[in-house]
């Protein structure tokens, strides 16, 4: 983290230096207040049932000489219940130079790959900021150099990733944590002797041909998904263990009328317990028109598969001294059913309900997200999570008392 703080100081110096030279500069961003409430009593002693948090995410942008720009986006959250969720990150500190047929980026940034809703298998550049959101949608800023080559035959992206970010994990007093608790303050273990300074590479080709959008990607480097090493002795805990892996990925989307057909698949090797493949495939169909009062009503269905053996006994794994990275997901033979409604009103009201259910053991996670604008600068969100029959799944079992509602209000400036 200290390396990151040092980087922050450099980034700030660059911002200040550039803001003088910039031909155009602007400040925007948001600040929010969020509250969470867990109706059920906690599973582990000391876990809180309520929390309030505040977050700030300003964005500085400057450009000069037409095609050069610098974007700086720090992020800070204070959380009343979770010392780990109280955290600082640089979401973006990116220099961009754009030419006719290329784009060059250097700094810290975020890259998204993929098409599906339930899981983002292909998306591997950024580490998950798990304390922000358990669905994995929030990411930490990733140091990178990225060269994008544009041609009429598609787009090539070449990434060099010189520094690795550790996943964030909830603190001891937080809900939505594993047991044993993963103590981020104890650091992480790495397969590579270079540890977080191992230089990772990624390559992606993407293209659009008619109704098809296709991406093929390859990644070599530190796995963003850790395995875990049990630490015995004073207070059992798991230490995240980051291995060196190869990942090949494919994402495809086909659009026809109201249909969006989606597929993501990956193959990974390099883990101590071997390679595996996983896929997420399905569709989103959108109903619309006067019969739906101008709303877009989307129905989503996806199937998720993971070739690893999920019928594991955690105690056995602890004894073996290595807990596979499959421990990070429950989605091995699951289906997701979702409903998305965009009201298309002046307040941009939206609601998304997604239920993911394990076909083997019946455990399910239901996520509800809703939002609407208030006035010109405010946005209110009401979200909820429900864990159904979670005790039947070895991972979700940790969260079986952790269904919660979350309300937030955000001010945009």
């Amino acid at each position: 983290m200290s390396g990151f703080v040092r980087f922050f100081s450099y980034a700030l110096a660059v911002v200040l230096a550039l803001s003088g030279a910039a031909s155009a500069a602007e400040l925007s961003g948001w600040a929010e207040v969020e509250g969470r409430y867990f109706p059920e009593g906690p599973l582990y002693r000391g876990q809180e049932s309520e929390s309030v948090s505040v977050a700030l995410r300003p964005e500085f942008y400057g450009e000069w000489a037409g095609d050069n720009s610098f974007t700086f986006v720090p992020f800070y959250r204070y959380d009343s219940a979770d010392t780990q969720r109280t955290h600082f990150d640089i979401r973006e500190a990116m220099f961009l130079k754009a030419g006719e047929s290329y784009e060059f980026r250097a700094g810290v940034g975020k890259v998204f790959w993929g098409v599906t809703e339930a899981n983002h298998l292909v998306d591997i550049i950024n580490q998950t900021d798990l304390v922000e959101s358990i669905d994995g949608e929030e990411k930490l800023g990733q140091p990178m150099v990225d060269l994008t080559l544009l041609s009429r035959y598609g787009t090539w992206d070449i990434f060099v990733l010189p520094y690795f970010r550790e996943r964030t994990f909830p603190g001891r007093a937080a809900r939505l944590r594993f047991d044993p608790f993963i103590d981020s303050d104890l650091g992480a273990a790495y397969e590579s002797g270079d540890e977080e300074r191992h230089v990772d590479f990624a390559l992606r080709y993407s293209n659009t041909v008619g109704d098809w959008d296709v991406g093929v990607s390859y990644f070599y480097g530190t796995s963003r998904d850790p395995a875990y090493l049990p630490r015995t002795g004073t207070g059992a805990s798991f230490v995240p263990f980051y291995e060196i892996i190869h990942q090949g990925g494919l994402d495809v989307q086909y659009v026809k009328g109201g249909w969006l057909w989606k597929l993501e698949g990956i193959y990974r090797t390099g883990y101590r317990d071997g390679g595996y493949y996983a896929l997420d495939a399905g569709f989103e169909y959108t109903f619309s028109g006067p019969a739906f009062y101008g709303m877009d009503v989307g129905l989503l269905l996806e199937y998720l598969y993971d070739s690893r053996n999920f019928d594991f006994d955690l105690n056995g794994l602890v004894d073996s001294g290595y807990i596979s990275s499959r421990f990070n997901t429950f989605m091995n033979n699951d289906y997701m059913l979702g409903l998305r409604v965009a009201v298309n009103d002046a307040a941009s009201s939206e609601i998304l309900i997604v239920a993911t259910r394990d076909a083997d053991n019946g455990a399910a996670v239901v996520k509800i997200e809703s939002s609407r604008r208030i006035g010109d600068n405010w946005k209110a969100e009401l979200d909820g999570y429900l864990f159904v029959d979670a005790g039947k799944d070895p991972l979700l079992d940790f969260f079986r008392k952790d269904g919660f509602v979350q309300a937030s209000i955000r001010y945009y400036f």
């Binding site: 942008y61 998204f112 949608e137 659009t208 969006l260 989103e284 959108t286 009103d345 945009y412």
Partner: protein
């Protein structure tokens, strides 16, 4: 497609005044008016515009959106134009951008860029009749002005304000339109759209759009700077005010791509 905003319409008939009122088939005459209007806007190349959209509900409460629209003319009459809409306000959608490749009779290709997620999403464009940004404009009103998207019928000539207008009915040929027909008023002098009445699927009057503040660019192309849409069924209103129009902006094909979406400001 002539994007609406650009558009224009117009019309003219090859029918000389001497012929008007003659025996000419109304379909042929309506088509001729539309074709001439289209011809007068050919060759605009590309435009950048900045606009304010003012939404007004029944109670008169107003909210505003600011956006920029970039358009690239695609000369092929059987293809639509390319367009980019970049949202600046409200602030929660700042940086959101919509890229469209319009087609004549099949669904447009559309990608939406969500800056918070750094995600370019291919979206289904089959909801042509849905509201654009919560306004009284539907997507098809914004992107739907290609000549070949409609069949035409001349109805009559009549005064429209201080001008003389052709009144031409057009019926969408593409499926999924929210309208059975539109009645358009096009002035005889410059073939500019002055008014459109939209009829819903039950053929009831749904909306009226009036155009004003026309300005001429490059000594040739007319653009309305004020478009006012009134929903006759709900009483809601939306006004589009163009603050700026630029022609010959240097926009090119490579500015209308997925990768470009990610670095738009």
């Amino acid at each position: 497609m002539k994007i609406f905003i650009l558009t224009l319409a117009a019309v003219i008939s090859f029918a000389l005044p001497a012929l008007s009122g003659g025996a000419e088939d109304p379909a042929v005459r309506g088509e001729a008016v539309a074709r001439e209007s289209h011809r007068r806007d050919l060759g605009f190349g590309n435009t950048k515009s900045e606009l304010k959209m003012i939404l007004e509900n029944r109670k008169g409460r107003k909210s505003e959106r600011l956006m920029r629209i970039y358009i690239l003319e695609v000369p092929d009459e059987n293809e639509g134009d390319k367009s980019l809409v970049i949202f600046d306000e409200p602030r929660d959608i700042k940086g959101t951008a919509l890229l469209s490749y319009a087609h004549i009779l099949k669904d447009d290709d559309q990608w939406l860029y969500l800056p918070a997620l750094k995600r370019v999403k291919r979206i289904s464009s089959s909801n042509k009749s849905g509201p654009f940004m919560g306004s009284e404009f539907a997507y098809e009103d914004i992107t739907g002005q290609e000549l070949k998207k409609y069949s035409y019928r001349w109805l009559r000539d009549e005064p429209c304000g201080e001008l003389e207008c052709f009144v031409v009915e057009r019926r969408p040929l593409y499926k999924k339109s929210g309208y059975t027909r539109m009645v358009t008023w096009i002035d005889k002098g410059e073939y500019r759209l002055q008014r459109i009445d939209y009829y819903d699927r039950r053929d009831a009057l749904l909306k009226t759009l009036t155009f004003s503040g026309y300005k001429q660019y490059l000594d040739r192309f007319w653009r309305a700077t004020d478009m006012y849409m009134v929903n006759r069924q709900t009483g809601k209103k939306t006004r589009l005010l163009y603050k700026k129009y630029e022609f010959k902006t240097g926009l090119k094909d490579s500015d209308f791509t997925k990768s470009r979406l990610k670095r738009l400001r």
